[in-house]
Amino acid sequence: MTAQAPPMTIAKIQRAIVSKEMLPSEALRPFLDRATRFDGRIRSLVTSTAVTAMERAEIADQDIKIGRAPEPLTGVPYTLKDIINTASVRTTANSRSLAGNVPMMDAVVHGKLMAAGGILVGKAATWEFAHGGPSWDVLQDPARNPWDISRDPSGSSSGSAAGIAAGLCAASIGSDTGGSIRGPSSACGTVGLKPTNGLVSVRGVIPNSFSLDCVGPMAWTAEDVAIVLEALTIRPDSKSASGAYTRNLDRSLNGLRIGVPYAWLDRERPPSNEVRAAFDAALRLLEGLGATVRSAVDLSPLRLFEDTKKTIAAVELFTTHAGTLRSRPELLGECFRVRIAAGAFVTAEEYLNAHRWRHRLALEMQAIFEDFDVLMLPTGEPAGPLKPTLPESLLTNLNFHSAFNVSGNPALATRMGFNGEGMPLSIQIVGRHFAEARVLNVAHVYERETDWGDHRPTAMTRDQDEGSSPELRL
């Protein structure tokens, strides 16, 4: 395999290793080669662990040679968003305030992936503390979008999605407090799942907003996301993955009830014409597979979900980071400072009332799933130019992500085509609490019926001189 061949999916790596067509180090090497060649321009990594990754793969080679059965993720290269603690590997949150931070303990998710045979190849770029960005006054400049390096890969799990799209890793663990897995997955044409709040452990993850934070799997396909989710949710008393998320991936969609919150789409946050056309085409395809689309989704205004999230997040961010803001504000980027300082101007009464809104909105969301199996809506707009944004933008924006952080539902982003400029479009599939298996089933069948996954960023498949780092300093 050469660096120009399409990157292997996790499912293909699994099959190749189980059938002994390939050793773990052979599966890993093309990913490391691509990282060497391309990460100077993509900047998906804050810290590379390529050397230890190859050592670990060679140990796995020996295990296979002596007849030991492979684990579910043996030979699978993954990255961790750089807010996820890794013992002996620095974890910076892309903040100058944590430039030399080397944790003593691994986060639970890292431990589970290692136990499943996965190989850490690096710590993935993030907006500062998974919140403020894109910024140029933090530890490292922002990651670039592999489809067009002048475009924004979105955030905050930017390096996770960019690395997967560029074929520098097969999976990554991102975090999602207000869309930080789904936004980058949409912008970079990858697949990302924000699980039900509480399904995946956040122990050992630097908090953003502790009552809203989730971590979840990102990969190239829904099938790969399902495989990683099984590894992340394996019980301590179990020796093997449950199959809970991969077993029914091919289940028929006949009779599936899809709800579409048209009030959000038509009135509050109308998508562009190209996104709306692709979304309508996706719904027609699913109807052709036996699903029914229903429009009577009676939800509160999107802005109410968004304001509830922002109020809670402002206070929790301030609570977590007030110490640094007081003692060394110059070590934080401007974007992050402005956003977290907002929490200083919310009273305790207002914070708790925002949680009351959250309670009510979560129950409302739960109730509408009595009539639907999944909700669907576009994930967002295609990637725009990578440029500094006003810090206030995160306090004023309105997107289709935060509602499901407030309600706690699982939400997955997957490809739904490309726009006229060749940038990926994305659809969001939302399920009942803890119904990740159904969400993954719908996504997998939809991916199977389309060929969007056959397309990779052209910059990564062209044999061209990658040269030095891009000169796109802003």
Binding site: E268, R303, T311, N353, R356
Partner: protein
């Protein structure tokens, strides 16, 4: 449940004045002059030197706009927090 009322009742100047007359805490937080915002920030240990002073004023302005919309129709249940026990026991709201 708020719903469209949430959008239709975004504070007008008249409703703001009326609400702030009822809710002194909210009025205190919103009606603060720039000097008062910075004094409060300084009082809780935040630096108010440039450029942080202007940043704090921006933070205050934007979060108070959000709270203004949200507080127009606060829910009044006793239970303040979302709980996943509501999933396990859906009838027990």
């Amino acid at each position: 449940m708020g719903r469209l009322r949430y959008l239709s009742t975004w504070p007008t100047s008249a409703s703001l004045i009326a609400r702030r007359a009822e809710n002194k805490t909210e009025a205190l937080m919103w009606n603060m002059s720039d000097d008062e915002v910075l004094a409060k920030a300084k009082g809780i240990g935040l630096s108010t030197k440039a450029p942080y002073d202007q940043e704090l004023l921006r933070s205050h302005k934007h979060i108070r706009e959000i709270i203004d919309r949200l507080s127009a129709d606060w829910p009044h249940e006793a239970q303040p927090a979302f709980s996943f026990s509501s999933i396990a026991h859906p009838g027990d709201k």
